[in-house]
Symmetry: C2
Subunit: 203 residues, 2 copies
């Protein structure tokens, strides 16, 4: 979102799981991201995004009418709550976060459940995209970036079956080709090299 709005930012790695007192002062919730901007350390990604949308409205990443904005926010929460709980935490957190934070091995029951549930979500996205150009309507919104953030992380560990739904694959190809998304695709987790298709626009 920062890149789409051409807001330059310096990235700083935070080992948030160590709950360092300095970090906890920046965000007492102990989570990333934290954005330092306009003299304040801000946390909670969607609260930050709404703030950026209000203070840097161009280009718009939220639609104009209350009904369309409702739908964009509904889908943002769909991914950050339901998808996160059912899929991201079951696959990414088990396979990657646990290792990085020294919490041991993936729980195979969780990995199986996440691999099963992602199918339902890809089908739901495919059904939405049958009726719309983007996830929340005919314009690209924060909902698309929220979904793409989750899917990109899962694609990094080859947990997305792009052949399941052509609409979803086309949608992700559009997201992936945006200049703002390219920088993200170059980012790597040390010790976890991404598969060759991950940053490839032709996947």
């Amino acid at each position: 979102m920062l890149a789409e709005k051409k807001i330059e930012v310096e990235l700083v790695e935070e080992r948030y799981w160590e709950q360092d007192p300095d970090f906890m002062r920046r965000n007492p919730a102990g989570k990333v991201p934290v954005l330092r901007m306009d003299g304040r350390a801000m946390s909670e990604s969607q609260a930050i995004c709404e703030y950026l949308e209000e203070t840097h409205p161009t280009p718009a990443l939220m639609p104009g009418s209350p009904a369309e904005r409702y739908e964009a926010r509904r889908i943002v929460f769909w991914f950050d709550d339901k998808f996160h709980h059912e899929v991201t935490s079951k696959l990414l957190y088990e396979r990657v976060n646990k290792k990085i934070t020294g919490q041991g091995y993936p729980e195979s029951r969780n990995v199986k459940s996440g691999a099963q549930k992602i199918k339902f979500h890809l089908d739901y996205m495919g059904w939405l995209l049958d009726q719309r150009r983007w996830l929340a309507g005919d314009v690209m919104t924060l909902a698309d970036f929220t979904a793409a953030a989750h899917l990109s992380c899962l694609d990094y560990i080859s947990d997305v079956d792009w052949n399941r739904n052509a609409n979803v694959k086309d949608w992700y190809a559009k997201i992936k080709s945006r200049p703002a998304f390219r920088g993200l695709l170059a980012d790597q987790v040390s010790g976890f090299p991404p598969p060759p298709h991950y940053a490839d626009l032709d996947f």
Copy 2:
């Protein structure tokens, strides 16, 4: 929020955990609340609240400036994400939801963890209220109602120690005395009578 904005609504009980196909059509995420309004079934409580604030702006439940709105949303997410995960799901869901939905007995490890964590949250609220009249600033916002929703549910099962922090008790007394909150306090879960102090303005 509906009552504060004087929007009349008919309440319908949903046995959402039964995942009835009719209910799943209203909200494919399978969660409550669902609000039927303006010809649409809307879901995701915060997306609904933002919609209500945009379509029924008086009385305002979000402050005027982007920075204050950011802070209100940050606190909304604090409660619906962190507090929900650390406290509400560990106490209310273990003691009440499990029984209602036929999922057995409370896990004592979870109950202990929730009872421990709520202390940190009450202290954090007390610290915020040392500097402000309401949780997100000097006006009452959606953040106060979000926090009060969680605390009221926990107070129903006597899991809130109101003597821990005088600021928090004073804040909850102000919320509790609002006409919009009175109706909620009359609502009961069958099989779980609330303690006498629950609906009492002098608790």
